[in-house]
Symmetry: C2
């Protein structure tokens, strides 16, 4: 068996997220596992670094997969791309040591949330941004973001169905950039809880709209009360930009 590290790019619009579900449910992992099952002649797991939700995109998702045949990296790349639909692509294949595991060994993940801050949605970015017509105050949002950076118990910023035991995570940085009418919020952390990036973003948006005081951030971190945090913004604005090992 050879262990291959895959870098995967996908447009999540048509998919019910990364994680394989019952047959008939369209998922990225499901598509990839079907292709490697064909290659190996038996059910094959593709271990992804992060489980992106319904509608969430990836520029650089990482996964690993064991293949029985001794194929070159280029051969695996060609094979898998031949069978993938046009909204999923494997952009790189590297042979790695047997014990490499894409999820367990990931050190940092980089997610970006994109907001179209205009009264008219950008036609070309409509599947990759969440449109908010009223102008957001970026200075206030940056101030609130600074309160979130660091090691905290983010229980108040995740959805309940998270099965993770510990809800403590470290956010290394949150950067807010404006490009034309688009606001991009980039989160770098050692890991993110279920819905965490989308709830953090919803909370920062409320600060930017002036609907929420910056001091509520500390309250949510202390009280760990999901009810006090902002709304869950749509999956389509979120993209997994990178996984760092």
């Amino acid at each position: 068996m050879n262990n291959y590290k895959l870098v995967i790019q996908y447009d999540g619009t048509r998919y019910q997220g990364w994680q394989k579900q019952n047959s008939g449910v369209n998922t990225i992992q499901g598509k990839l596992e079907a292709i490697f099952e064909e290659l190996n002649g038996e059910p094959t797991s593709v271990h992804g670094a992060g489980r992106t939700d319904t509608g969430v995109h990836a520029l650089h998702q990482v996964a690993n997969v064991y293949v029985k045949q001794d194929l070159s990296e280029e051969e695996v790349l060609q094979y898998v791309n031949k069978y993938l639909p046009e909204d999923i692509a494997v952009t790189s294949v590297v042979k790695v040591i047997d014990r490499f595991h894409a999820r367990l060994h990931a050190k940092k993940k980089v997610y970006q949330y994109c907001i179209s801050n205009s009264s008219i949605s950008n036609v070309f970015r409509r599947k990759y941004t969440y449109t908010i017509g009223e102008k957001l105050d970026l200075k206030r949002m940056e101030e609130a973001a600074n309160e979130l950076v660091g090691t905290h118990d983010f229980k108040g910023f995740c959805s309940k169905s998270s099965s993770k035991k510990s809800t403590t995570r470290t956010i290394y940085s949150i950067e807010i950039q404006k490009q034309g009418d688009e606001i991009q919020i980039t989160y770098i952390g050692n890991g993110f809880l279920y819905h965490m990036v989308r709830i953090l973003t919803g909370t920062l948006i409320e600060v930017g709209q002036g609907k929420r005081d910056i001091c509520t951030i500390q309250e949510i971190l202390t009280e760990k009360n999901r009810q006090k945090a902002g709304e869950l913004v749509p999956g389509k604005g979120l993209i997994l930009l990178d996984v760092i090992y």
Copy 2:
């Protein structure tokens, strides 16, 4: 009657081009005219600056339309965007003098053709680029592009069904830029014949692949023979970037 100048953005993927056709054919002009017909209570023409082909996109198409009611620019903008599908947006409305005509008064048009120069198509740009795996020689392409700049009879670089009487046009500039794996060729001219930008691009690509000598450009301009020019590249890589008055 009030004359309004509209700036229109569209993702051409789902459309049979700009120009209205028989009912049942999905076109950008058809969508807009149906909305203004509703507003005026009678058939209403929306005069576009350029007739983009099937699958071709626009960042800044310009059109003008006469409206019976005396509506503010903002009212027209709101009204039309309320009824447009998500892949078409009017981004600006300006009241103009009665005799303004979007097509007849256009001085320059800016088109861009986007090539994904990679063995793996970029998932997020798949609807807006034409993928060519083999590396293109940009220096050669620039040299060939320089031969095209100026006032020439471009008969050899257009498809036959062009009903235009004169086939002489002026190209002010052709700029070739590389951004990551993407090559963008930007054409500025006083007007373009049927399929002209796509045939020029197909010809430049063959130069970049080393399949065609640069001197053939002059031959096609002199002999006006479509057979000698390059292939017609797909519409999806083309976007109308701007119309200048």
